[in-house]
């Protein structure tokens, strides 16, 4: 809402600076977003009249004007290049010594041999938004109304001696979409006295009842409809004061009748509409829902298809307006119009909101209906408009009104306890003070007893229905800054985190400790991602939650895997020449549970490496590979206190390299996958370097993570270390050998690890040599050489039996 201070002063005596006023409003919940000082930086610009326009003798594109600026002396000679100047035109003239907002001082200048004593101004040069102007004035010199006196400072002529507050209103304060209610609010805050306009009574209804009728068919959507008629209408441009008021509020002047309806809307918050009375079939107004496939051509000349959820105004035969949204073209007020029917109605916000959304039409009127207007204000507003029309000489009022008001609302009376207000606010405000606050807001207040008021709220404050709403009014007027600052006197509490929160934190800390960078991507992805990942149609990841109204195809489903997010980010970084990446993301994936149920939100972790560790002066470039990432994952499991993890080779993941991928299994449950991304998937993401990636579900790790570690006593007896190198066929995989060693080694084999894999000389093709280091130890004694040898040999024999392993 744009609030012109000049206009505001019509309703209230203000003796505050603009900044003080803005601060009052902001601190009372009517946030002032900005203060626009119109005409700031303009001096010595006056109204003038062009007497004569002559071509410039030495330049085709320039003309020489004689301009009367109202002084006794001779007209000024001014050279201009503007195309739209003509004799008789009244224009803003910057005379020698003038200043414009964004320009230097105007000086006497010589243009191709002719002296020029000033400059004719465009709207933009005066800091005025030119959008509302006729086309030629948007490009050229601004024209002033023919009635403008000469030599008057342009600020006065154009109403630029004004400041405009831009109010950012919260949805509950739609009452402040009217100047008068803003004035009331300021009155309550500052005790300044109000000067409200006098509005005449409409007179008796004998005549109007003969002239027109109004019927509300759908009273659920239209709770009141007031009509009045004006005859002998003279459509003319509005007087300057009216134009200026509208302009300061950001609206365009159209003609006297339309301008009055807009003026009253801005003044009182009630949208009005004027119909050409003679074009209303049978002079009937019927408020009803549209019929399926009915159409209307709206004011903007566009034919609109209506549906049965839209409320319209119809005459006896056809729709003449989309209620509260836009009038019809056929019944528009034009220069031919003799008689008008004015409408002041209350339409239900929700319905207007739906209709205006469906049609993509929003207007000052529709947004006021949406937020809710004053049901009791319709008659006052229409009478005000009629007064103004008569005042302007734009028409003659037909006495009487038609006021269809099917169910008048009860007055809202709220029980209010001052003690309750103090209890909630933590204040100690006296009842008398509270009483004063209510009075200043024009709330009627009856004091039942010491701690009970009966408060009647004016109908324009639709936001107040409960005691708590009154508590807020007290807090606002008392001032939030005057409320004390204390800490809660509450029971001691222990702050807790869920175990999954703790687990996620640990995961992040561990991965960051290993050099990984955390990324955060959107929880929605494009369903195309599933194709890019080469997922089969039956792949479970394709079973996902779809968004009905996505912003784009790249964000149309909830993710079922973190891989697309990581791949997109890796690809983007690689294209920015960041070739060595260690990334991870921790976040939920969404698994559908049927359309009536919320999805299962599973916490996942996924990580990716590509490129390698950069070369330093004393290290060489270390290329990443599968085993680097697996090392990261194994360390992560170790930090999370996880045992019994297996990596099972798999070819079931079409996004991954079939020979370089493993399912991650913990206690026989598959919890994730690790592998090299399939070359065709890399191509889809336009990446030409290898990427390794793992993703896993965190929930199955919870039980291990939550377990408290148990101390093992340090060994008292010396360990015996033995190595064993065996030659096995290539297809024997390490996990098989490991399992066998562990099983045979028993409790005395406390540790074993593979320290070398060798292929080449001395090893037959199709075989590999695996070298293990084993440590034998007992908790209760020193193992004898024989005991160790027995176990060691048994392991070797078993490996031979199972895998044909030979000692190397």
């Amino acid at each position: 809402m744009q609030v012109s201070l000049k206009w505001l002063k019509d309703y209230i005596d203000l003796n505050l600076s603009t900044e003080e006023l803005a601060n009052y409003l902001t601190m009372a919940g009517l946030e002032v977003d900005s203060i626009n000082k119109l005409g700031e930086g303009i001096s010595k610009v006056v109204s003038g009249e062009i007497l004569e326009v002559k071509p410039h003798p030495n330049a085709d594109k320039l003309v020489v004007c004689a301009v009367n600026v109202g002084q006794e002396n001779a007209p000024l000679t001014i050279v201009t290049g503007a195309p739209n100047v003509r004799p008789g035109m009244k224009v803003p003239v910057a005379i020698v010594g003038a200043k414009l907002p964004d320009g230097p001082q105007i000086k006497k200048a010589v243009f191709r041999g002719i002296e020029s004593y000033g400059m004719l101004c465009s709207a933009q040069e005066l800091g005025i938004d030119p959008t509302g102007l006729p086309a030629e004035e948007r490009e050229g010199i601004m024209s002033l109304p023919p009635s403008t006196p000469l030599g008057i400072p342009i600020q006065e002529v154009l109403g630029l001696d004004d400041e405009v507050l831009e109010l950012e209103l919260t949805p509950n304060r739609s009452d402040c979409l009217g100047m008068i209610n803003i004035a009331r609010e300021i009155g309550a805050l500052t005790s300044a006295s109000l000067k409200l306009p006098k509005i005449s009574h409409e007179g008796n209804n004998d005549v109007i009842d003969q002239m027109a009728s109004v019927e509300i068919v759908d009273s659920d959507l239209c709770r009141r409809y007031v009509a009045r008629i004006i005859k002998d209408v003279k459509i003319e441009p509005s007087p300057l004061w009216l134009q200026q008021r509208l302009q300061a509020a950001g609206m365009r002047s159209i003609n006297n009748i339309v301008d009055v309806t807009n003026f009253v809307m801005l003044e009182m918050g009630q949208p009005l509409h004027a119909f050409d009375y003679d074009k209303l079939e049978e002079h009937k107004i019927i408020v009803r829902r549209a019929k399926e496939n009915e159409t209307i051509v709206t004011l903007d000349g566009i034919q609109r298809k209506l549906d049965k959820d839209m409320l319209i105004i119809a005459d006896a035969t056809k729709p003449v307006a989309i209620a509260g949204v836009m009038g019809g073209f056929d019944t528009e007020v034009t220069s031919e119009t003799n008689t008008i029917l004015l409408e002041s109605a209350f339409f239900e916000g929700a319905s207007i909101r739906k209709t205006s959304r469906k049609l993509g039409l929003r207007s000052e009127a529709s947004s006021r209906f949406e937020k809710g207007i004053n049901l009791d204000g319709s008659l006052e507003a229409i009478n005000r408009a009629v007064d103004l029309i008569e005042e302007l000489g734009a028409g003659v009022a037909v006495p009487g009104k038609i006021d269809v008001f099917p169910s008048k609302p009860e007055k809202v009376v709220i029980k209010f306890r001052p003690s309750r207000a103090n209890y909630i606010l933590g204040t100690d405000i006296s009842s008398q003070q509270m009483l004063k606050y209510f009075k200043s807001l024009s709330f009627e207040c009856v004091q039942e007893n010491n701690d009970l008021f009966l408060v009647t709220v004016p109908s324009y404050r639709r936001d107040i229905t409960l005691e708590i709403d009154l508590v807020e009014e007290i807090a606002r007027l008392y001032g939030y800054s005057n409320i004390p600052t204390t800490l809660p006197q509450s029971t001691m509490t222990q702050s807790k985190k869920t175990s999954i929160q703790a687990l996620e934190e640990k995961v992040k800390n561990t991965l960051v400790g290993m050099g990984m960078k955390e990324i955060i991507t959107y929880s929605f992805i494009g369903s195309k991602s599933f194709d890019k990942l080469r997922l089969k149609d039956s792949h479970p990841w394709r079973n996902c939650i779809e968004i009905k109204n996505p912003l784009s195809d790249d964000q149309n489903v909830m993710r079922t895997t973190l891989i697309p997010g990581l791949m997109e980010i890796a690809s983007k970084n690689i294209h920015r020449r960041q070739l060595n990446l260690c990334l991870f993301e921790s976040g939920n994936v969404f698994i559908p549970q049927g359309s009536n149920h919320l999805p299962l939100e599973e916490p996942h972790i996924a990580a990716l490496v590509t490129g390698g560790l950069g070369k330093a002066w004393n290290t060489s470039f270390e290329k990443f590979d599968f085993y680097y990432l697996k090392g990261v994952l194994e360390q992560l499991f170790s930090q999370l206190n996880q045992g019994n993890i297996n990596f099972i080779p798999t070819k079931n993941y079409s996004s991954f390299h079939p020979g370089r991928t493993a399912e991650i299994v913990i206690n026989d449950e598959v919890i994730g996958v690790i592998g090299e991304i399939h070359p065709l998937v890399l191509e889809e993401y336009d990446v030409d370097q290898k990427i390794w990636l793992f993703e896993l579900n965190l929930s199955p790790l919870l039980s291990g993570f939550s377990k408290i570690k148990e101390f093992e006593p340090l060994p008292k007896y010396p360990p015996v270390e033995r190595d064993m190198a065996i030659i096995v066929p290539e297809q024997v995989i390490t996990s098989q050998v490991d399992q066998k060693i562990a099983a045979v080694g028993g409790k005395y084999l406390i540790q074993y690890h593979l320290f070398d894999i060798y292929r080449g000389e001395q090893i037959p093709k199709g075989f590999k040599s695996m070298a293990y280091n084993m440590i034998y130890q007992a908790q209760d004694r020193t193992l004898t050489d024989k005991e160790v040898s027995d176990i060691h040999n048994r392991i070797q024999q078993e490996l031979q039996a199972s895998f044909g392993a030979k000692l190397r």
Binding site: I424, Y480, I483, K517, Y522, F524, N549, R576, G587, T619
Partner: protein
């Protein structure tokens, strides 16, 4: 014999003193003091001396041995020190060369801010609660006093899954969920960090962003307590000399409602680019829990009161780190991530 001994002493001490290396010194030790050394050789001839001479010569020999050993020890110490100095000199390295690259990663700046916020509130006894990102319309709106067709729904354009299921537009539904699960237990004292979604995508809006919700419901919780709690948070988050300012505002689920500004931490309140010359920066929304919300969640608003607040994590991260473009937070350029 006496002369021989004195000669050994004289010659020995000169040679020992002239020794250039530890090896040479060792050679000389063997030459003079070894089992077959000169001194021993001379002493073998003791038998030929007269009995009365023997003790005198013996004493002399011992004195000479002591003297040579002292000489040897001194020289040995000297040479040792010299050798060490030499070694240390040879071992000089360029300590200005960079260290071995030890890799450490980075948490996302939003995670860092979230952790900081969580840390502050858990320090004040708040429990960290979670709620689903895909939420029922009921919890996202209705239980928060936002019935269907309420104009406040316009403030938050939503992504819908079905008519009844949507992506939560704020973390506030966690309020209703937690209260409904806890009623009639008191106090309800939680924060709820998480992802939220709105249909907006431009330079200053991201369709997904993060919020932290806070809720304290108990006997006798006042608006003054809300002010105190937020002041404490702001000072821990932005510095101990910060002030806060509460302005009336509107949220359907709180009443009275307040927008909270913090005094600009860039200029200290004088007015600058960061605070748009106002001296204040808006950082969160808050208010007293609306009685309808308490009622719907199973608490009697006549008996308990509470406050709630909600803040945007992106905004706080941008303010705190001076990030000037929201989109950087979701582009995940590693050159950006590496800075935190």
């Amino acid at each position: 014999m006496r002369e021989e001994l004195l000669k050994i002493q004289e010659q020995g001490s000169v040679e020992l003193n002239n020794a250039q290396s530890l090896e040479e010194l060792n050679q000389l030790r063997i030459k003079y003091l070894g089992k077959k050394g000169l001194l021993t050789q001379v002493l073998r001839g003791m038998g030929s001396l007269e009995a009365s001479e023997r003790p005198i010569v013996g004493q002399l020999a011992n004195e000479i041995r002591d003297s040579l050993e002292q000489c040897l020890a001194a020289k040995n110490k000297y040479l040792q020190e010299k050798a060490l100095l030499l070694r240390l000199e040879e071992e000089v390295i360029d300590v200005t060369l960079p260290g071995r690259p030890i890799k450490f990663g980075n948490k996302h700046p939003l995670t860092l801010i979230l952790e900081e916020i969580k840390g502050i509130f858990t320090g004040m006894g708040f429990t960290v609660a979670d709620g689903p990102e895909v939420e029922l319309d009921y919890y996202n709106f209705e239980a928060l006093n936002i019935p269907k067709d309420h104009p406040a729904r316009d403030m938050q354009d939503s992504f819908y899954i079905t008519d009844e299921i949507l992506l939560r537009t704020h973390t506030s539904p966690v309020q209703a969920r937690v209260m409904q699960a806890m009623t009639p237990e008191l106090p309800v004292k939680i924060i709820a960090p998480g992802k939220v979604f709105r249909r907006d995508d431009d330079a200053t809006h991201s369709p997904m962003f993060h919020q932290v919700e806070g809720l304290l419901v108990d006997n006798k919780i006042t608006f003054a307590d809300l002010k105190g709690t937020l002041l404490s948070f702001v000072r821990q988050m932005f510095g101990s000399d910060r002030q806060i300012r509460l302005r009336p505002s509107y949220f359907p689920f709180t009443e009275p409602s307040a927008e909270v500004d913090v005094s600009c931490f860039n200029c200290g309140g004088q007015g600058c680019r960061v605070c748009k010359d106002t001296g204040w920066i808006e950082i969160l929304g808050s208010g007293m829990v609306h009685p309808n919300v308490l009622q719907m969640s199973g608490y009697n608003p006549e008996q308990v009161t509470g406050f709630a607040f909600g803040m945007g994590v992106e905004r706080i991260a941008m303010l705190k780190y001076g990030i000037d473009d929201l989109r950087l937070l979701f582009e995940n350029d590693v050159r950006f991530l590496s800075q935190f």
